[in-house]
């Protein structure tokens, strides 16, 4: 006899949960979408929206004197070229401004619809006026800020985390359950003495374990690669992640509770998730949507998830300062779970 009677490893809850892991780990696509994809997305967005050091603008002048004057401003790189060559360089975008020495003074040639060119015009004029001895009338100093936490990457990481808490919970539960139903495995399971609650619990348990890996990998990457801030309590952040995952699992369960075919399940899941991808503020603030749909937007579980994640990570808020999103998440946990237990189709 290979199996001792009452050990943990032979308990049905352990076996069911272990099966979930095995099936997940043997599905390479699932691993990609769960672990690798969010990191690739974060890297891509981080590169696209990185806050670059203030750009040095390329300008040119027709005389060496003017060029020298322009070069005194560190935000400008100046070279000397004649008017014809300068005009050509302007047209091809190599320089944004050409300062032409004229009998009466200086003429700036630039495209005033290009913000860089307009900036160059201001800087060039200041440099040339300074070189001509026109000192500023008011003394001005600069204090520069590059604050962590106000960058786009800081904003988008909690959004991606929320999205990544939702996707695998709904897809993972939904597809696995509907597939088991379609293949009559669900029917075979309830025909055995398996406790039904353990079947559903195995999904949630395996989700929570994988969640730990996913969240740690993703946030660890965001912290190391982008220095994304964690201003709130990490315990509370963990609590929010677990709550979000449970709520989305409940929603996944509800989505999968009746569907008989994968096609129907897929349609239902997209129907459930699409509005949230658009409205819940993954990539930009959900408050940008018109006031009239705000109650709907704020009631979505992904909006609540992302708002509470941003509240914790970016603003350092405590749970008691985020009662609205936390309550919304709790409601999305309790109601879909209760409803799906009632209407779940076991065969």
């Amino acid at each position: 006899m290979s199996s001792p009677d009452s050990s943990f490893a032979t308990s049905s809850l352990f076996q069911l949960t272990a099966l979930r892991f095995r099936l997940f780990l043997r599905e390479p696509e699932a691993i990609f979408w769960t672990f690798v994809f969010p990191i690739i997305l974060a890297v891509g967005l981080g590169l696209a929206f990185r806050n670059r050091p203030a750009d040095v603008l390329q300008v040119a002048a027709t005389t060496p004197q003017l060029t020298q004057a322009l070069a005194t401003d560190k935000a400008l790189t100046a070279s000397t070229m004649d008017e014809a060559a300068g005009t050509k360089a302007l047209d091809t975008g190599h320089i944004v401004l050409l300062a032409i020495q004229s009998p009466t003074g200086v003429v700036y040639k630039y495209d005033d619809t290009n913000p860089d060119a307009r900036t160059a015009r201001l800087l060039a004029d200041r440099a040339i006026q300074n070189a001509a001895g026109q000192a500023a009338k008011v003394q001005a100093d600069n204090r520069l800020i590059h604050e962590v936490g106000s960058r786009y990457i800081d904003f988008v990481v909690p959004g991606l985390l929320g999205m990544n808490l939702m996707g695998p919970a709904i897809w993972g539960l939904g597809f696995a359950i509907v597939e088991a139903r379609q293949k009559k495995l669900l029917k075979r399971m309830v025909a055995s003495p398996m406790p039904k609650w353990q079947y559903l619990a195995s999904f949630i348990l395996s989700r929570l374990v994988m969640l730990t890996v996913e969240v740690v990998v993703f946030l660890g990457f965001a912290a190391v690669a982008f220095g994304v801030p964690f201003r709130g309590s990490l315990w509370e952040l963990a609590f929010i992640c677990i709550l979000c995952s449970l709520s989305f699992s409940a929603l996944g369960l509800l989505t999968a509770s009746r569907a008989r075919t994968m096609e129907a399940a897929n349609g239902l899941m997209n129907l459930v998730m699409l509005p949230m991808w658009i409205l819940s503020g993954v990539f930009f603030s959900s408050t940008r949507f018109p006031a009239i749909i705000q109650p709907f937007v704020q009631a979505l579980p992904l909006t609540a998830a992302i708002n509470s994640l941003r509240g914790n990570m970016l603003q350092g808020q405590h749970l008691n300062q985020m009662l609205v999103p936390v309550t919304v998440l709790l409601a999305w946990l309790v109601i879909p779970f209760a409803v799906s237990l009632k209407i779940f189709r076991w065969r």
Binding site: R22, L23, L185, R188, A191
Partner: protein, 333 residues
């Protein structure tokens, strides 16, 4: 058609065998009383009474749509009957569902276990649901899947998948085993392999209830058979009793090379010929004493001026019982 009288004679012989096979004192393994189930406008099960004794291998036989699966799923506690009583091992699904689930084993039609799990993992999972039972190793051995122990389910042949389903049905060491069309869709070799497995289980004294639409399977495996059609049991008995009830143990089939009607009265007058029917130009006679009847058949046909284009005989089978009872071939369904 002679169906009605045939059915009446079957009923009486069936009841006789029922009493004879009842185990003394222990009560039946399965008891169905006036079972009914209707889906929308289809009557799937239309008043079934049945008793299966412990240690018996019992077959529910019939064409697709006869109500076999609905009946067996009601027995398995997967479908609620509209009315009637179901008792297994003296227990019922309303009061003793948990205990019953522990004590029965079953294999359903078209269950697909997860492709990416291995044979051993799948059996271990099902073993974990039962408080008592045989070890995983033992059930792998019984189902002859030792070589496939570490293989993924997705890579198994149809026969191996069916044996895996059997292994999962056996892990709880069930007192009562339900098999729903265990060999449907298998190639002949895999079927025989599975039959051997069922034989071994029978020898071990397990009570088995199986459904099939293969007559040869029922004859080969079952101690007793109930033939179902349109939700009713139309015949019940041992395969031998049922075959004998056709009226002759041999079937003569012949065809004529001309379409004009044959007068059957001279044929039926021959001693040993029990019945005659025509199906798509093929005449069928059920015959009890073949060696005496055949020369007379030739004479009777020649006397009417016909010549034979085809002539063959075979031993009567459950197939012939079904044809005799319903006027239809099982294959037509």
């Amino acid at each position: 058609m002679p169906e009605r009288t045939l059915e009446a004679s079957l009923e009486s012989s069936a009841n006789g065998s029922l009493n004879a096979t009842l185990n003394s004192g222990h009560g039946p393994a399965l008891l169905l009383r006036n079972l009914r189930k209707t889906y929308a406008d289809v009557v799937a099960v239309d008043g079934i009474d049945l008793e299966v004794s412990k240690g018996e291998c019992f077959g529910l036989l019939g064409p697709n749509g006869a109500g076999k699966t609905t009946t067996i799923e009601i027995c398995e506690g997967l479908t609620d009957p509209d009315s009637g009583t179901v008792e297994l091992l003296g227990l019922n699904w309303k009061a003793n569902a948990n205990e019953l689930r522990q004590r029965i084993g079953l294999q359903l039609q078209e269950t697909q276990f997860p492709d990416k799990a291995t044979v051993e993992e799948t059996i271990r999972l099902f073993r974990s649901f039962f408080h008592r039972g045989i070890s995983v190793d033992e059930s792998i051995k019984t189902a002859q899947l030792e070589e496939k122990r570490k293989s993924r389910v997705g890579g198994l042949s149809g026969g191996q998948k069916q044996r895996l389903a059997m292994a999962c049905a056996l892990v709880g060491d069930p007192e009562l085993l339900f098999l729903d069309e265990p060999t449907t869709g298998l190639d002949p070799q895999a079927r025989r392999h599975l039959w051997d497995l069922v034989d071994d289980l029978k020898k071990a004294g397990r009570t088995i209830i199986l459904t099939t639409h293969y007559m040869d399977e029922a004859e080969r495996l079952c101690d007793r058979v109930a033939i179902m059609d349109h939700g009713k049991i139309i015949a019940l008995g041992t395969p031998q009793q049922l075959i004998a009830s056709v009226g002759g143990e041999h079937i003569v089939e012949f065809a004529l090379n001309c379409d004009s009607p044959l007068d059957t009265a001279p044929l039926l007058a021959i001693a040993g010929i029990q019945s005659h029917r025509v199906d798509a130009g093929l005449h069928q006679l059920s015959v009890s004493q073949l060696h005496l009847a055949v020369p007379s058949i030739f004479e009777a046909i020649a006397a009417q001026g016909f010549t034979l284009s085809e002539f063959r005989t075979h031993s009567a089978s459950l197939e012939d019982v079904f044809v005799g009872l319903t006027g239809r071939n099982l294959r037509d369904e």
